[in-house]
């Protein structure tokens, strides 16, 4: 079993908040994603059991959402917003500089497994463009110096 007792108990508690158990599926996927960094085939099967679904049904949900992944990624995830308001203020130039600096393209992970670099659609911080999200935190009013220092400082 890959899902521990604590997470199973938490999922059971979440399920009581919804009129149908399945309402807790997205919250459960967030829990697994946070603990394991991705939703593995084993986790998918066990979640399917917990929700009375087929693994394929769980997979169909996982694959729909950008924040869930079926493959392991870097220990940290950084995404530069490249939507229009941020691009008007240099976001795409910044992303290109960061790609060069880290030696990876957007969507790739550094060789040491430390960081996955990516792009984001608008994250609701357009007035502080350019910006990026690193794990759960937004960094705003960026330039290359600031952004690279933040990424270099990640464990």
């Amino acid at each position: 079993m890959i899902l521990g007792d604590a997470i199973r108990a938490e999922i059971d508690e979440l399920a009581t908040r919804y009129p149908e158990r399945r309402g807790a599926l997205l919250p459960a996927l967030h829990l697994v994603e946070r603990e394991h960094g991705h939703i593995s085939p084993d986790a998918t099967r066990e979640l399917a059991d917990l929700f009375g679904l087929r693994p394929n049904e769980v997979l169909a949900v996982v694959s729909f959402y950008e924040m869930f992944g079926t493959e392991p990624r870097g220990r940290h995830r950084a995404g530069v917003c490249t939507n229009l308001p941020c691009s008007l203020r240099g976001a795409r130039t910044l992303l290109a500089q960061l790609e060069l600096h880290l030696g990876v393209r957007a969507g790739e992970t550094t060789d040491d497994g430390r960081l996955t670099l990516g792009r984001e659609e608008c994250l609701g911080a357009c007035a502080a463009a350019p910006m990026m999200r690193v794990d759960e935190v937004d960094h705003e009013h960026l330039d290359f110096e600031k952004a690279s220092a933040i990424l270099d400082g990640l464990e």
Binding site: P19, E20, G23, L25, N83
Partner: protein
């Protein structure tokens, strides 16, 4: 660093710059929850009538009258019904709900209590987009506080009206801010919009009658209940009363969030409040409502920011996000980003949306690189036309209208790319 303080305030964002306002103590010290207490003593029909007379238009993008939406709830019910608060805010250029969630969480709870009482909902599902971590934490804290004070759950208001709020976090899909896709997602499914009206009597979550309202819409309610219809109608226009939160981004000296009455002229927001275009440049165009709304060219910026005026120019208020572009901007690059967004975010259910968005992006990319032809522009127009009015949800229309708007007002930019076989705007932002 946080984007937390509005640049101009009105009743919605007053005190939002103050950290204490996000706490129960700070909120009640500034008069908070008195409207909820008043509302919970009122009859649902009275509240409904009040909101109907206030003329409050929904702030989630459609601009429909909130009172009329509430009336869609069936009057006879044989079980529970729900309120869903749409905090899926994903419209590029729009960031108003985020400020309210982070800085005025108790105001939203108060608005939820009022709407729930008016519509007879026994529970609220608050659907927050997954990337809004800080907003979700702020709401969790506030809900916990409101429970211990008895405003939610079992407690002091329970005899009159027991209500609770459940937070569900989205997981990164623009389309889940469309209400039927949101409901699917809430039920633990893929966030694909539903076919219109599968069940009689409006929307359903978990098969039960449900009202969906935007965060900002709900935040107006405590003020309407507290101060009344005449007060509310003293802001804004006859058809669009109240203030709203305008997000201003792009090429302006002072980007930010501005609370202003509906009907404030667009050019006043850009040139006075946001202090105009930097580097002494001129404006080229402004998208008034968020990325998926049609653009307005420099000559049409004297329009009042209210749906009745914007509609005459084929634009919409949308979620109130103003994206400002200066004269260096290449509108084909803008089209490239917009079509790329639509291609990326189409849920794929409808062929014309899935295929159309892909086509739009391919054609615009070709034009941007200078390898496009006149015929490509004609095909672009044709593809956009075929995406209109056919699809399950409004997303395909938005994709079509935003590209059509760019072609209508900035055709020269597209033609110049074909003539010169390259992008003629050397100083434009980079792709």
């Amino acid at each position: 660093m946080t984007l937390s303080i509005p640049n101009t305030t009105g009743y919605l964002t007053e005190h939002c710059g103050d950290d204490a306002f996000a706490t129960l103590k700070g909120y009640t010290a500034r008069g908070g929850y008195s409207a909820a207490r008043k509302a919970l003593r009122s009859k649902p029909a009275e509240l409904l009538e009040l909101v109907e007379r206030s003329g409050l238009q929904s702030r989630g993008g459609m601009g429909l009258p909130t009172g009329a939406k509430w009336r869609c709830m069936p009057s006879e019910r044989d079980g529970p019904s729900y309120l869903v608060c749409n905090a899926g805010e994903s419209e590029p250029g729009s960031f108003k709900d985020r400020l309210l969630l982070e800085r005025a969480p108790h105001k939203l709870i108060e608005g939820i209590l009022i709407a729930a009482k008016a519509t007879g909902a026994e529970k609220t599902f608050l659907y927050i987009r997954g990337e809004y971590f800080r907003a979700a934490r702020a709401m969790e804290r506030a809900i916990e506080e409101a429970r211990s004070a008895g405003y939610l759950g079992k407690g002091r208001l329970r005899r009159r009206f027991a209500h609770d709020i459940v937070i569900t976090r989205g997981a990164g899909a623009y389309i889940c801010s469309e209400e039927t896709a949101l409901l699917e997602s809430l039920e633990g499914k893929r966030g694909e919009p539903r076919n219109r009206l599968p069940l009689p009597g409006g929307l359903h979550a978990f098969g039960r009658p449900t009202t969906v309202n935007d965060v900002e819409t709900l935040c107006h309610l405590p003020h309407i209940v507290e101060h009344g219809v005449d007060w509310f109608r003293s802001f804004g226009t006859e058809q669009s009363p109240g203030t709203t939160l305008f997000g201003v981004s792009g090429h302006v000296v002072q980007p930010g969030l501005y609370e202003l009455p509906l009907g404030t002229p667009l050019d006043e927001i850009v040139f006075e409040y946001a202090r105009g275009i930097p580097h002494g440049r001129r404006v080229k165009g402004v998208i008034p409502g968020g990325l998926s709304m049609a653009i307005l060219p420099a000559g049409q910026l004297n329009v009042p920011m209210a749906n009745e005026s914007l509609r005459e120019r084929k634009a919409m208020l949308g979620a109130g996000g103003l994206i400002v572009m200066d004269e260096t901007t290449c509108m084909v690059r803008v089209a490239c980003i917009i079509s790329g967004f639509f291609r990326h975010e189409s849920c794929g259910r409808c062929t014309q949306c899935r295929e159309g968005a892909g086509w739009l992006h391919k054609l615009v990319q070709r034009l941007e690189r200078g390898t496009g032809t006149r015929k490509d522009i004609a095909i672009l127009e044709d593809v956009a036309r075929k995406m209109e009015g056919q699809a399950i949800c409004g997303f395909a229309d938005s994709a079509a209208w935003s590209i059509q708007g760019l072609l209508r007002h900035f055709r020269d930019d597209f033609d110049a790319h074909v003539r010169q076989r390259q992008c003629p705007f050397a100083g434009s932002f980079e792709l």
